[in-house]
């Protein structure tokens, strides 16, 4: 490696031969991770199988969870003594810096009160606005309009694809606390390959929407139960080019929103029930994953989750083992819904 700026040696043209890994090397993150993981194994942590960055430890006197994001670590536990023990241990090994109660993690700003915890990405949102020069823009109340002309053939592609892609990328990270712009960002991100003027205007509209509410985020109330409620929906053939449908779902734990998704399905559905059924399949997988995660966090979820779906036909397909003319082409992978339903992972309920 080149000598760092500011470091001088007697002879010219000398370089540093790396014996250990350094920030920025391709293998740096892996090296660090394996070192950290080995250390954590030594003090009794086990790696979660549903999220490899989650480490848990259960002892008779308490439970502790440790979440790793490269070199940022969140510690949670029910025994303050154990937490400080682990901190001391990590400090001895790596010289960590204890930042106290969780307040700023990966750009998420965490605020607490007696009523619960609120997370938002105010700084990040403002940075996006500042970088795109939209700080003084007029706010608007919706992130996207329904009637946008997106016929890519008619319009000349713009030349600032880089700006468009960068904006989409940053907005994608903003969706971590902003489910309200999730659909708009998902929709616009389909055009990153050759955006045209209309796409660009649509992105600006999203930015103006953010301008109106940069501090909006998620609230996790403290008075809430641990029951999972999930809502699934789908539209039908909304994509003008491919006629594919869009899945949408969200998962609540008690009254706290923890997971959501908007995604264009990868197969064309012949009926709206079929599209809804596919949406059910993807939420079934998500529920399964969240359930294992909760088990690893030592949270008892004996009763099944409630899954709400507004399409009667889709519910029937899932609940009754009928083989019908119109459903025979639905791929086997979608019948994961049937299987999970029979296992009692969730109850399928109508939305009233």
């Amino acid at each position: 490696m080149d000598l760092p700026q500011g470091l001088h040696t007697e002879k010219p043209n000398q370089v540093c031969r790396l014996k250990k890994s350094l920030y920025g090397l391709k293998q740096a993150s892996r090296q660090w991770y394996s070192k950290l993981a080995n250390c954590l194994y030594d003090v009794g942590f086990t790696q979660s199988s549903s999220d490899y960055s989650l480490f848990t430890r259960k002892t008779t006197s308490g439970f502790m969870a440790l979440l790793v994001y490269v070199d940022d670590i969140i510690l949670a536990g029910d025994n303050a003594k154990h937490i400080s023990e682990v901190k001391v241990f990590l400090n001895r090994k790596f010289k960590i810096k204890d930042l106290g109660r969780l307040s700023f993690f990966l750009g998420l700003e965490v605020t607490r009160s007696k009523r619960g915890i609120h997370i938002n990405q105010r700084k990040y949102a403002l940075d996006i606005l500042a970088d795109s020069g939209m700080l003084a823009a007029k706010p608007c109340s919706t992130p996207i309009t329904k009637d946008i002309k997106f016929n890519s053939d008619e319009n000349e592609p713009i030349h600032e694809e880089g700006t468009y892609r960068r904006a989409i990328g940053r907005l994608l990270y903003l969706t971590n606390t902003r489910p309200d712009i999730n659909f708009a960002v998902q929709f616009l991100s389909q055009f990153v390959q050759s955006p045209n003027m209309y796409h660009h205007q649509a992105v600006n509209r999203v930015l103006r929407y953010i301008k109106g509410s940069p501090t909006r985020g998620l609230f996790f109330p403290s008075e809430s139960n641990m029951k999972l409620n999930a809502f699934s929906d789908s539209d039908w053939a909304s994509c003008n080019f491919t006629r594919r449908s869009t899945t949408g779902f969200c998962v609540y734990m008690g009254s706290a929103l923890i997971s959501w998704k908007t995604k264009k399905q990868n197969i064309v559905s012949r009926s709206s029930s079929e599209a809804e059924y596919r949406a059910l399949a993807s939420i079934a997988c998500e529920l399964q994953w969240i359930k294992t995660l909760l088990q690893e966090l030592q949270i008892e979820t004996s009763d099944s989750a409630k899954l709400f779906c507004d399409n009667q036909a889709a519910r029937h397909i899932a609940q009754n083992p009928v083989f019908h003319e119109r459903t025979k082409h639905i791929k086997i992978d979608c019948h994961v819904v049937k299987e999970r339903l029979q296992n009692g992972l969730f109850h399928l309920l109508p939305i009233k």
């Binding site: 490696m1 080149d2 760092p4 700026q5 500011g6 470091l7 000398q14 370089v15 540093c16 014996k19 350094l22 920030y23 920025g24 090397l25 391709k26 293998q27 740096a28 993150s29 892996r30 660090w32 991770y33 394996s34 999220d51 490899y52 960055s53 989650l54 969870a65 979440l67 994001y69 490269v70 810096k97 930042l99 969780l102 307040s103 700023f104 990966l106 998420l108 700003e109 605020t111 700084k123 606005l129 500042a130 700080l135 003084a136 823009a137 007029k138 706010p139 971590n176 301008k211 996790f220 109330p221 403290s222 809430s224 641990m226 734990m253 008690g254 706290a256 923890i258 995660l293 966090l297």
Partner: protein
């Protein structure tokens, strides 16, 4: 200037003045054929060429004549704006002198089309203008009374009319509405939207005594310099007469430097008043508690250097880099050798990061040396790179569980 006979002394003063202030010599003076400009010995003494226009041909003296028109136009509109009633027309005349000097003052501070929309004042003095000193001519203002001359129950201020600035004094020329006294005060509060009439008064005073400071523009109107300071010089010369404002950088007092007074100002530009939809209107900070506010203020307001060249200037970052090198040395991260032939070295750069405590204090300046890994080639420099990162859903779930369990 009261009499034309003063022309000579004023002309002399001006030539000296241009020499002292701008080290420029007047080379040519152009005027009409009036006798007050006929000072042969004076011109010869300074080596000035005196050009005159033909008889009854003001077109040949157009620069001065046009400027004259401009100044009077502005001065007239200033006077009309005051809307003085007829009985006060003798005041109007004495006001008029102030109006003319104020007109010149304003003309020198607005962009001129002849100079490709630059401001004459800034061109001459090569420094930025402070527009905040500009006030509406003839507006209502209240000048503080002098502390020595008043007792406990005297008025604290006098009701006045603003009449401009006086050369060489940092203050405003104001006319007392009651006593008709013209005086200069520094402590004046302006009401720029309000215009009042003078109050009825017995015994009139003559405000002529203050006209002496008009001297330069009257002289200047008939003088044209060529080549040295171009045409704009003439009106700019008056400029040096106005109050010199301190060019010191204005900043908040020292005792406030440890605080953030305007939290939203730290992230956005200061002139929100002109912005229709200021970002501050959508950022509700007042509901936050103090600790959280501190954190937000400091993560928004401190900035980190991007380049080594920027960082090396400050002692904190230099120390941070020293510490990082020391840490790398103690870990024996590298040894310094010669580059093997045929190989390329990976670049590296410094990154600078501010670390904050939960209460918003800067915990430390962190410098980090990173290798430019993007120049590495798979299979040659590295094999496996995968390392897991937390899913955002997991983070949210953990926070949600924590919220419930607390």
């Amino acid at each position: 200037m009261k009499n034309k006979s003063e022309t000579r002394s004023l002309l002399y003063d001006f030539v000296k003045y241009a020499h002292t202030q701008f080290s420029k010599n007047v080379k040519i003076i152009r005027s009409d054929n009036s006798s007050e400009f006929n000072y042969k010995d004076f011109y010869n003494n300074f080596g000035i060429i005196h050009q005159t226009s033909c008889v009854e041909t003001p077109q040949q003296n157009s620069v001065v004549e046009r400027k004259h028109q401009h100044i009077l136009n502005v001065a007239r509109s200033i006077m009309f704006h005051l809307n003085l009633p007829k009985p006060f027309c003798n005041y109007a005349i004495s006001h008029g002198n102030y109006a003319i000097s104020h007109a010149v003052f304003i003309i020198n501070r607005i962009p001129s089309a002849a100079m490709s929309f630059k401001i004459p004042y800034e061109l001459l003095y090569k420094r930025k203008l402070d527009f905040s000193i500009l006030k509406v001519f003839g507006c209502l203002c209240f000048a503080s009374t002098i502390a020595n001359n008043r007792n406990k129950f005297d008025c604290r201020s006098r009701k006045c009319i603003f009449l401009g600035f006086k050369n060489g004094v940092k203050g405003y020329v104001v006319l007392d509405t009651k006593s008709r006294e013209v005086f200069i005060s520094r402590d004046v509060i302006f009401h720029e939207r309000t215009f009042i009439q003078l109050e009825e008064q017995i015994g009139q005073t003559d405000s002529e005594e203050d006209m002496s400071y008009l001297s330069y523009e009257n002289a200047g109107e008939h003088v044209q310099q060529q080549e040295n300071i171009n045409t704009q010089t003439k009106e700019d010369i008056n400029e040096s007469n106005d109050v010199r404002r301190s060019s010191r950088l204005r900043k908040a007092p020292d005792y406030l430097k440890d605080y953030h007074h305007h939290i939203h100002n730290s992230t956005i530009s200061h002139n929100d008043t002109q912005v229709m939809y200021p970002i501050s209107s959508v950022l509700p900070y007042n509901s936050l508690d103090k600790n959280q506010l501190c954190l937000i203020a400091s993560i928004s307001s401190h900035s980190e250097p991007k380049l080594y060249e920027e960082a090396v200037k400050s002692a904190e970052w230099r120390n941070a880099m020293k510490d990082e090198i020391k840490a790398l040395n103690t870990n024996e991260t590298w040894c310094i050798t010669d580059l093997p032939p045929g190989k390329k070295s990976i670049g590296c750069k410094w990154l600078y990061k501010l670390k904050f405590n939960a209460d918003g204090k800067i915990e430390r300046h962190k410098a980090r040396l990173v290798a430019k890994g993007y120049t590495q080639v798979e299979g040659v420099d590295y094999h496996e790179t995968f390392s897991p990162v937390a899913k955002m859903t997991t983070i949210r779930l953990l926070i949600a569980v924590a919220a419930t369990k607390n």
